[in-house]
């Protein structure tokens, strides 16, 4: 139902193993995908996975910090150079949209495709809505306005009630296909209505992708019926206490305790301070989180892919780096 590919999991600056924030989301079955945040060199990360900027449907920026948006100019320019002509939606704070406009004025950047922009300040709660996918936003607490995006992925299946059709004496064949396609059919002098013999089945999963945030509790409502939260854990508790609260980031303990409190089944932590990218840094973060959280816990790495099934089960598929 939902495939997540982490393209960047470091906070602030890149390390040799981790780029800055970017997360690719595929809801299938087509190649279309959505990008949440676009740190510098996100287009470089794309060179190493099976995702093309040509199939990118929308870019959603959580907040106006460089490590979440400095990859936009290159991404937009490369989409142009790869010959994209289909519209691209960009949802972002107004200052980011202004900056993208300033970028288009710098040099002669021509985009041969419509860039449809939506300022978060003016946007409705539902920033993207189409068959199969709704994305709404939820306010967070950070040094600049920051949001979480909640994806609701819906798949509708309709199958014929075979028992009812056999009872009506209708033999398998073209007429069954017509009913499956929503068309009524005539049979032995009476009308068989598609609506009466089609059984509908709806599958739905929900995932919340949070931007930088110092207060996970703000996501209680958004996460109420979600199967997955992707949230920053920039620090461990001791480091957060040391750097002080004014940076308005979360520590692993805090996010894990929140996820436990609301009974969330799956939690992926990301956006780690580069200080944890060596030695047992990642283990420090993990140890802190598992003390609080009894659900499925993952600490994201660049190029790792996860799949959330219709049953809400999260499967870790490992690295998809080519």
């Amino acid at each position: 139902m939902l495939t997540l590919t982490f393209l960047g999991t470091s906070s602030g600056v890149p390390t040799r193993r981790r780029n800055m924030s970017a997360l690719a989301l595929q809801t299938g079955p087509g190649p279309s995908w959505v990008l949440v945040d676009c740190g510098e060199a996100t287009q470089h990360q794309l060179l190493r996975v099976k995702l093309s900027v040509r199939d990118l449907e929308a870019i959603l920026i959580t907040h106006a910090h460089g490590d979440h948006c400095y990859g936009l100019p290159g991404m937009l320019a490369s989409a142009a150079m790869h010959g994209r002509t289909t519209p691209l939606l960009l949802v972002a704070p107004q200052v980011v949209l202004d900056w993208v406009e300033a970028t288009r004025r710098c040099g002669d950047l021509y985009l041969p495709y419509p860039l449809e922009t939506l300022a978060l300040e003016d946007a409705p709660a539902m920033v993207l809505e189409r068959p199969g996918l709704c994305i709404d936003r939820h306010a967070l607490l950070h040094r600049v306005p920051s949001v979480a995006y909640r994806l609701t992925v819906t798949r509708r299946h309709a199958h014929l009630d075979g028992d009812a059709l056999r009872q009506a004496g209708l033999p398998r064949g073209p007429l069954w296909r017509q009913l499956q396609d929503g068309k009524d059919v005539q049979w032995q002098g009476r009308t068989l209505r598609s609506a009466e013999v089609l059984r509908h089945h709806v599958e739905q999963v929900r995932a919340v992708i949070a931007g930088d945030n110092a207060d996970p509790g703000l996501l209680a409502e958004a996460c109420a019926d979600a199967q997955l939260l992707v949230h920053e854990a920039t620090y461990t508790r001791p480091v957060l206490d040391k750097v002080g609260p004014e940076r308005l980031h979360s520590c692993a303990e805090q996010v894990a305790a929140f996820a436990e409190h609301i009974g969330l089944p799956n939690l992926i932590l990301t956006h780690f301070s580069p200080r944890y990218d060596h030695g047992d840094g990642m283990e420090q973060l993990r140890r802190e989180a598992v003390l609080q959280y009894s659900g499925q816990l993952h600490l994201a790495r660049d190029f790792e892919q996860y799949r959330l099934s219709a049953e809400g089960v999260l499967e870790a598929l490992g690295s998809v780096r080519r």
Copy 2:
């Protein structure tokens, strides 16, 4: 005298092996260095070489195309996050400086160091001048205003004329050191003047680093007493003829013929179209160039380092990727 480290050698878009334009220049002996152009993810390339953004003295942008400047926001932000406090010089077209200003307004990018900017349109011909290093600029032909930067690296040595001192009967020792340090000394009732026994020796090399350019001949004067030209060779001749002249790039044949014509001893080609980054693409470019040029020819690769000696000899040091 001059060490060159190629941080990006692709044109337009990155490939899996080549990033976009950026060239680090060290004139020694200290760690200070200068960057010509700053394509997206140049800061990522720095993670793999022995160069720190803390020691970066100046960034010189050749022209306002994204593949030469989209790495600026991240580079400036990372310098801030690494605690830089010393001034940084940025020389660039005014539109690039305007864009950097727009970047500073986006989000809360605070630079704890003075960013000293110089617009190419208003700049004197000599854009940087300090003991040991002068950099002047030379206009090129491209779709937007583009320049070449010429580095003149000078090293002055002063050594005592030992014969003269021995003739004067002055024994080796502290008095020799005083004379070496420029101080006059008293010896057997007379004054030995430092200026009269110090012999000065000046070493100088010149290298021209060109931005995008369709007319190498424009560099005839700048290259007249240079030992090295670094120039784009975006295409081979057949491809240039096919894409047409309006992109205002050079082909390998054209640059090589120019270098031969002016008798240039060393030529490094760079800024290759991604189409040459597989198969025998690079060999196609090389074959075209060697037919025209009898000097030392190199086709740059990312992370390759070169050293230009005081005698004007260019040594290829290979990859310095860590």
